[in-house]
């Protein structure tokens, strides 16, 4: 089941590349759209079929891959990954729809996109550290080309920056991974890359993996690798550039999924596998005990304030992503039920909301061909539906209760407050600043007198509405009844090494 889901896009890539002629652009898009619907169907099936009361992984598939190093093809999903797999599968067709207007080398674009989807779904399903790494890197390559070829004017700079940054992180991650592998056994006891096994070993007292000093260093290696992806201050500067240059659909994937790969890695590896290392950075004591929470705080406040300063619509959304990832981080640092639930929920919700935001920016960019916030004005009277949906997305993003963004943020903060009082209180400043930049943007773009340049601007069309409506519905439904999502991963959270 999972393998099918992972490799169907890959198969689809071959179909698009070899079975469709260059000039059949329309056909290529349709075929890709249908291909991306298959993982979505499987994901919906998983969502329905998933046994919410059972802890641990489900739908596991396990077979030997590279015998010499005991590398296995081991995939499976637990509550943590199933939500993100669903998100990935959902954004797939939406992004294909959002890419409908791309006219340069559409075949190659779609093929790369499908490859990217394989990488992302595989990453969230992988239970073998090596496989995990392979999929992690697999997303990098298509992303590089998607930004570097189909991006804006500074696309090459942005693509290289993104590539090098991530590569830098993943090298450290690779080192940490190999270290963990080497420590997992001896010449007599088989070493392993298997994540569930490693998690068990790291908990076993006296095992080499359970050594706190080792865990701290391994933690750092993994952490930097994931921090680049999240991104966590000060590794965040690739994000605004990449977002600004990337085409709309790729921004959506970047914000919706790729950032989540970082936080997912933090939960899956740093938190679950290296509890001692986590403890060192989150226990609130000693020189380093607040560091994760401090980083979360910096992300929230710094990201929000930077967003306030932006005049490029897309850059503003990009910085707001940095701010929102801070809530994930601070919830994670709390290591308690509400903090972690909030963090995971925030991952999912941010995926949905930021996807909406980037799609919305794309809509206005397609019409006005620029993204300068101060260059708009009064669009509200010309594009009422667009304005309405944007308001919904902005409100969700600034954490309006009743919409999904609030629940994740509130739970993260509630959880974090019991551990890091001062930092959490300071972080709430991010809520105010978040409201400030979104409202200010709303005012500059939509309110006020209509800028005469846009007298003839057209209302959002049906295809664009179709990309936004599923996300909008999710935002509202999860805001009203977040248990739908939380039920999925409650058991998974309870398995994590929580500290009350």
């Amino acid at each position: 089941m999972l393998s099918l889901m992972i490799f169907i896009p890959l198969l689809g890539m071959l179909v698009v590349l070899f079975a469709i002629r260059r000039e059949q652009e329309e056909l290529a898009k349709r075929v890709t759209f249908i291909i991306t619907l298959i993982p979505l169907l499987i994901a919906v099936f998983l969502f329905v079929d998933y046994d919410r009361s059972a802890p641990g992984h489900q739908y596991e598939e396990d077979m030997m891959w590279i015998e010499a190093f005991n590398i296995r093809y081991h995939v499976g999903i637990d509550g943590l990954s199933v939500t993100l797999v669903l998100l990935t599968a959902l954004l797939g067709p939406i992004c294909v729809l959002a890419s409908w207007k791309i006219d340069k080398g559409i075949k190659a674009y779609l093929a790369l996109f499908l490859l990217l989807e394989t990488g992302m779904i595989g990453f969230f399903c992988a239970l073998d550290m090596f496989l995990f790494y392979v999929f992690f890197e697999l997303t990098l390559l298509p992303m590089y080309f998607l930004i570097g070829i189909w991006g804006g004017p500074r696309r090459e700079y942005a693509a290289i920056k993104f590539f090098l940054y991530t590569l830098f992180g993943s090298v450290l991650m690779l080192i940490a991974m190999i270290a963990v592998y080497l420590k997992s056994g001896t010449d007599d006891v088989a070493r392993t890359f298997d994540i569930p096994t490693l998690i068990e070993l790291a908990k076993t007292p006296g095992h080499a993996l359970a050594d706190p000093t080792f865990q701290i260093w391994a933690f750092l290696g993994f952490f930097i690798g994931f921090a680049v992806k999240v991104p966590i201050f000060p590794f965040h500067t690739w994000l605004p550039d990449a977002h600004v240059e990337a085409p709309t659909a790729i921004s959506v994937i970047l914000a919706g999924i790729l950032l989540k790969m970082g936080t997912y890695g933090l939960v899956r590896v740093n938190f679950a596998m290296l509890p001692e290392g986590m403890d060192f950075f989150c226990n609130g004591e000693g020189r380093w005990g607040n560091s994760l929470a401090i980083l979360g705080f910096i992300n929230i406040v710094y990201g929000s304030l930077c967003a306030l300063a932006q005049t490029d619509f897309k850059k503003l959304v990009a910085y707001s992503s940095i701010g929102h990832m801070g809530f994930v981080l601070i919830g994670l640092a709390a290591r308690n039920e509400s903090g972690l639930t909030g963090a995971i929920l925030q991952m999912f919700n941010h995926g949905v909301i930021s996807a909406m935001l980037f799609l919305l920016v794309g809509v206005v960019y397609d019409r006005a061909h620029h993204r300068e916030i101060n260059g708009f004005g009064g669009l509200g009277s010309k594009m009422p539906i667009y304005t309405g949906i944007t308001t919904l997305a902005f409100m969700a993003s600034l954490g309006l209760p009743g919409l999904s963004g609030f629940v994740g943020e509130a739970l993260s903060l509630l959880g974090a407050y019991s551990k890091f009082k001062v930092l959490t209180i300071l972080s709430t400043a991010g809520i105010v600043v978040g409201a400030a930049y979104f409202l200010w943007t709303l005012q500059r773009v939509f309110l006020g007198e209509l800028n005469p340049k846009y007298e003839a601007i057209t209302e959002i069309n049906g295809r664009e509405i179709a990309t936004l409506v599923p996300l909008g519905i999710l935002t509202i439904v999860l805001g009203i009844w977040p248990s739908i999502a939380i039920d999925m991963f409650r058991e998974a959270v309870s398995l994590l090494p929580l500290v009350q």
């Binding site: 932006q310 039920e337 009277s381 509630l414 105010v432 200010w440 939380i486």
Partner: protein, 744 residues
């Protein structure tokens, strides 16, 4: 009457009206009669609220306690901690439901006339429905999280409705300001919620494991903590109810359509802050109560003083609202839940009436203004110019005031708009506190009595100060409210052209005015209110430490402070009315009452009399007084410079700071990254260049050199002499033959 289904209907009806609009607009269409859909939904909710109220009437003993009936279910089960959502039904909820549904229904009806012809007419009603839903949700929530959700939702509706005419800059700015300012308060409230949650592991208020039950067990060691939590929760109310220092958004919010001002910014949403504070009553401590009381009293006084010098009719009412909300806060802070909520209820009606009345005037003037524009296009500037007959100080220009809202253009409207005049006069008499006849007197009187009662019984200097501030504010209130009436409805018309165009509003607008005017009489009276609403106990409130009282009195006052609660507990055996009376029959309370009632007469006479001297009989020139007291006048005209402080300092600093940070990010952090990139690139280039030259290129060169030298040698074979080649060929053949011979 079953509670849950009725509350569900109350919530679902307006929400459905909004959803109808929202789904339809995704297809790019609007239903032109959204007004009927929304109004019908609101009337359904009103009927349900009335039905629910019959529960309270039938069983006052049960429902008069706060948190009487709760139906909740788990909303967010996290494992060890759960968040629940649910309905709370008690007399306070019931009263709030009635207030909200009545005012909302009337405002809906009023708006059908007022908003007629607006290009976004259906949207307006959809937003009103969404607001009504949010407000009702807030009121029926049984836990802090639910209240917070409703709280923020009403904030957004307020944002959407203030910015309804977003094409103009003023509403666009005002709606942003309103949202931001209240959000600052909300963050405080959220921090308070975090504190309570961390301590009690729940956000439910009632029940054995609710916050109130758990908080009542706290000891004196936790009092500082609890006080801080209480003040932080109160921060939310400060923002929403526009208390000082977060009051500045409310006057600006008057940029929204007037029915919105009546519903949201006078009767319901801004009162939600008072409602929240009242709900939090049991966890208030002596210190947080005093804090709340001071904020309320200062707000009441300061806002009243600002109202004196405003010319925009809606701005006057806005400051009046702020001031009255201050009263309610003062009452709750002074330990009287009942008086606070009572004033909330009466105020909702007469203030909604005042706003709708002003809306009626504005509507008339707008119509006149438009007609005037059509007739005399050239005359526009002139029309604005000659209207300054009553300009107090020429230097304070009327910039930014809509001519249709400027009281300096009005005057003498009582003949033109008799219904509006009479109803507004009733409301004004009510808010000014004219004794006995009007509801405003009873509620304001209750507030003053309660404050003075605390002052006397605790012999507390603080409460004496609070009382005098409240009394002074009452005088000012009477003064500026009658200034409004005199300037608008009496005297000679100051802008003849606009005056000529003005006319009485259509019946759709007049009927709500009349109904509200009826409600401004003591239909909602003190006795019935006290019968249905019982004050919950405040386990942590005691006389302030500094108060000079003796120990024997302390015991007495401790009992008195809880008298209502005791009364509530004994309510099974005795008639509730008698309990309330028993609570009031203690000597200090009687003493307070005996002082306040005559004082009320004085207040009203002084306030109205002064106002009449200035604006009716014109015995004293307001301009002259203003000129004499120029520094004070300037201060008041500039609203104590709060806006300047916020815009010029806080907002400017934040924005500037963010710009600096943005540059810091772009130049410094990204600079470092790019710098590293450049350094690495350059360094790598050098290293790899050397490597390339030495090894890679060396290897290539080596191959080339070897080839060269071999070629150099082998070349000699190529003599160019055919005979040599031929010799080689022959030699080769011979060799081959020999080899073959040898092999085969």
């Amino acid at each position: 009457m079953p509670v849950v289904p009725l509350i569900s209907i109350i919530l679902v009806a307006p929400l459905a009206a909004f959803a109808f609009f929202g789904l339809l607009s995704l297809t790019g269409r609007n239903y032109a009669r959204q007004d009927l859909v929304s109004t019908a939904a609101m009337l359904v909710a009103f009927v349900c609220a009335v039905l629910l109220f019959t529960n309270v009437v039938a069983d006052p003993d049960k429902y008069s306690h706060d948190g009487a009936e709760i139906h909740s279910l788990t909303w967010l089960p996290l494992g060890s901690v759960n968040f629940s959502m649910g309905f709370l039904f008690d007399s306070v909820t019931s009263v709030m439901l009635l207030v909200v549904t009545i005012v909302s229904s009337l405002v809906h009806i009023f708006s059908i006339g007022y908003m007629h012809g607006d290009p976004r007419y259906p949207r307006f009603f959809a937003f009103l429905s969404l607001f009504s839903f949010s407000m009702l949700f807030l009121v029926v929530s049984d836990n802090l999280l639910g209240i917070y959700i409703g709280w923020e939702l009403v904030g957004v509706c307020s944002y959407l409705l203030i910015g309804f005419w977003f094409e103009q800059d003023a509403p666009a700015n005002a709606c942003k300001k309103a949202f931001m300012t209240t959000r600052v308060g909300d963050v405080g409230m959220f921090i308070g919620m975090m504190m309570l949650f961390t301590k009690f592991r729940t956000l439910s208020l009632y029940g054995t494991d609710g916050i109130f039950a758990l908080a009542s067990n706290l000891t004196t060691a936790d009092m500082t903590w609890l006080s801080i939590a209480g003040v932080l929760i109160f921060c939310g109310a400060v923002g929403k109810s526009a208390q000082i220092p977060l009051h500045t958004w409310l006057p600006d919010a008057m940029e929204g359509p007037t029915p919105v001002s009546a519903l949201i910014h006078a009767a319901t949403m801004v009162a939600a802050g008072v409602y929240l504070t009242a709900r939090m009553f049991p966890i208030l401590t002596a210190d947080s109560s005093l804090f709340i009381a001071y904020v309320g009293a200062i707000t009441a006084l300061v806002a009243a003083t600002i109202a004196i010098v405003r010319f925009d009719i809606k701005r006057v009412l806005a400051y009046s609202t702020i001031s009255q909300l201050g009263y309610m806060m003062l009452a709750i802070g002074a330990g009287s839940y009942v008086a606070g909520l009572f004033h909330l209820t009466t105020h909702a009606f007469f203030k909604a009436l005042l706003f709708l009345g002003s809306g009626s005037v504005i509507h008339a003037f707008h119509a006149a203004h438009h007609a005037h524009d059509h007739d005399h296009e050239h005359d526009h500037a002139h029309g604005d110019d000659h209207a300054h007959g009553d300009n107090h100080a020429a230097s304070f220009d009327s910039f930014g005031i809509d001519p249709a809202q400027d009281m300096r253009h009005m005057g003498g409207l009582r003949h033109k708009m008799p219904i509006t005049f009479v109803t507004m006069l009733i409301a004004t008499l009510s808010i000014a506190g004219v004794p006995y006849i009007f509801s405003g007197f009873w509620s304001k009187d209750a507030v003053l009595v309660e404050v003075l009662y605390r002052a006397i019984s605790w012999n507390s200097v603080h409460h004496y100060i609070l009382f005098s501030m409240a009394a002074l504010a009452a005088v000012i209130t009477a003064f500026y409210m009658f200034r409004l009436i005199f300037m608008t409805f009496t005297g000679e018309p100051r802008n003849q052209e606009m005056h000529d165009g003005a006319h009485e509003s259509p019946w759709k607008m007049a009927i709500p005015l009349i109904i509200l005017a009826v409600l401004s009489f003591p239909i909602v009276n003190k006795w019935s209110f006290e019968k249905y609403v019982k004050q919950p106990a405040q386990p942590h409130v005691h006389a302030p430490k500094h108060a000079t009282y003796d120990a024997s009195q302390d015991v007495l006052h401790a009992q008195l402070g809880l008298s209502d609660a005791h009364a509530a507990e004994d309510a099974h055996s005795e008639d509730a009315h008698h309990d309330a009376a028993a609570g009031h029959h203690n000597p200090d309370h009687d003493k307070a009452h005996n002082i306040v009632v005559p004082l009320s007469f004085v207040i009203v006479i002084v306030g109205i009399g002064l106002s009449a001297l200035f604006y009716y009989w014109r015995k004293i020139s307001a301009d002259a007084v203003a000129a004499r007291l120029r520094p004070i006048y300037t201060l008041l005209w500039n609203k104590y410079y709060f806006d300047e402080l916020y815009d010029g300092v806080l907002v400017a600093l934040t924005v500037a700071g963010s710009k600096v940070l943005g540059l810091f990010d772009l130049r410094f952090i990204d600079g470092i990254v790019n710098g590293v990139g450049v350094v690495v690139q350059a360094g790598c280039a050098r290293v790899s260049g050397w490597f390339d030259n030495t090894f890679v290129d060396g290897l290539v060169n080596l191959v080339a050199r070897i080839t060269w030298s071999i070629g150099g040698r082998v070349r000699r074979v190529q003599t160019g002499m055919i005979q040599n080649y031929l010799l080689a060929v022959v030699g080769g053949v011979v060799l081959l033959i020999l080899i073959f011979r040898a092999l085969f």
